[in-house]
Amino acid sequence: MPIQLQDFTKRFDNTTVIERMNLEVHDGEMLALLGPSGCGKSTTLLAISGIHRVNGGQILFGEEDVSEQPSQKRNVGVVFQNYALYPHMTAYQNIAFPLEVRGMGREQIDKEVRAIAALVHIEQYLERRPGQLSGGQQQRVALARALVRKPGVLLLDEPLANLDAKLRLEMRSEIRRIQQETGITAILVTHDQVEAMSMCDRIAIMNEGQIIQIDTPTEMYRNPKTQFVAGFLGNPPIAFVNGRASGEAIRLDADEVTLPLPTGARRPKDGEPIVVGIRPEIFGVNGGSPIGGRVSFVETQGRENLYDVALPSGAVLRSIQPVRHDISVGDQVTWGVNPDALMVFSQDGTRL
């Protein structure tokens, strides 16, 4: 079911957390709400689920305005960060609970519970209580409970935050598989860009209660609208260096380095202070414009190495390269930057 937020506003007491947010989620897609902690992602999610009342604007499910409906009527499945399983009930009873309160018959409940348990692969754990299940299994039970009554919308609040690294990888693809098999419209809240990029059809990136950009993961990575978005996506992250426009070129502050302006960027005024964003993968041995500096840190990642290069001005660039043994900390290097992949931002953070 498509979801639409129109001028959605949420206040707690007198602090406005979300002001006039507009967001559209297409039918059957999985959208990531990505943003730093405290930016209002959970608040948005709880408003869609009906737990928070909106202070302004509308929430539409399909054509229907549900802003004034209580949670019980909205038919939304939610998976909470800590799963919120009912500790005194078995997995089976947990999953059956939403059907029971609807007054469904015993046999029908049994059929539905077993079907959904098969979908999330927890058939053999149904008689256990949450305390006897591992984190990943609890997560699956929570998913089953959210999905068992076939909601129109699935909301996931940081579903992977409490899992260890290996399980997180496994559950990432599992959640995506379950979402695709059921074809449900889903919103995933996360502060982890890797999760957002790997699991979702589109990403809505949020900061301080505002949606900054909505795009597919690839497009957003390649074409961030602001410095904030560029800084949020990518691991290892992009490096920012201050500079000044000078004709067709950029002079980096306090360095004897000039870079050509990337093609397609809006021309800044001469002498205007700007910020240059350089991703680690466009700075290395086979780039175009040379930049010299001293290697200040080497981080081994197995297949690749990450080199921090300190420029004379003190700014630090990052370069990611296949593992090589000829460079160590303290070496002076001159590597090239691919000028077309540079990103240039004005002082207030918008992309030029």
């Binding site: 919120a84 500790p87 005194h88």
Partner: protein, 274 residues
Amino acid sequence: MTRNFSAWPVLLVLSLISLPLAIMYASVFVDSFTNTPPGAILPNEFTLAHWRFLVDPSIAGNIWVATLNTFIFALSMVVIVTTISAMGGYAVSRLNLPYRRFFLAGIMVMHAFPSVTLIIGVFLVLQFAGLYDTLAGVIMVKATLMLPFGIWIMKGFYDAVPWEIEMAGVQDGASRFTVWRRLILPQVKPGLIALGVFAFLDGWGEYLLPRILAPTSEFRVLSVYLQQISVTDSINYDFNLFKSVGLYYTLPVLIVFIVFQNRLMNIFGGGTKG
């Protein structure tokens, strides 16, 4: 667990301090089954005579009726205090009540008041309501005085239950009441059991309120019975009889305590495991 100090000095000090208590308990027990000649310290004969109050109502009235009354009184406490605290504690912990802070502060203040200071006001209210000198009246007053404590304790237990469980329940389509009864109440069960035991013990031991608020009524509880046989200027004052009745009176308390001791500790531990 590793000890970082040796246990025996502590045990020794504790034993010495509690020795008088232990001797007291032992003497109550021994004296209620024996006779001791005047002037002697140790008893010289075994007798069941001090327990004749169990069958002979002429001593101070029918003990079985008093026992039954005490049970009714204590069980009423359990029912009223746990029921209202279970609901009231939830309300002050979770619901967006008007004047919530006022209620919380009020509960605290009420809890701090010694009940004796309220007795005249209570007396007037009971008189006015026509409940003076009745079982119902005493039960209501005692329960009212216990409720601030009960609500406060239950609020603590409810506070420890994660909000998400409630949100999940509402999201699953359950009404707020169903969520409370089926999802939240089971999480605070340990607190409720402890509170119930506490209410029972408190009701069982109550003396002042029945004595003052129902002085003439047929309704007589064990504490009042005990007091009546201990009136020292009565003609046939029997100290060992007094001890036997005391022992009889304490027995249910001991049993309840032994059965529920682990649960009772919960109330001081506060809260449930997530």
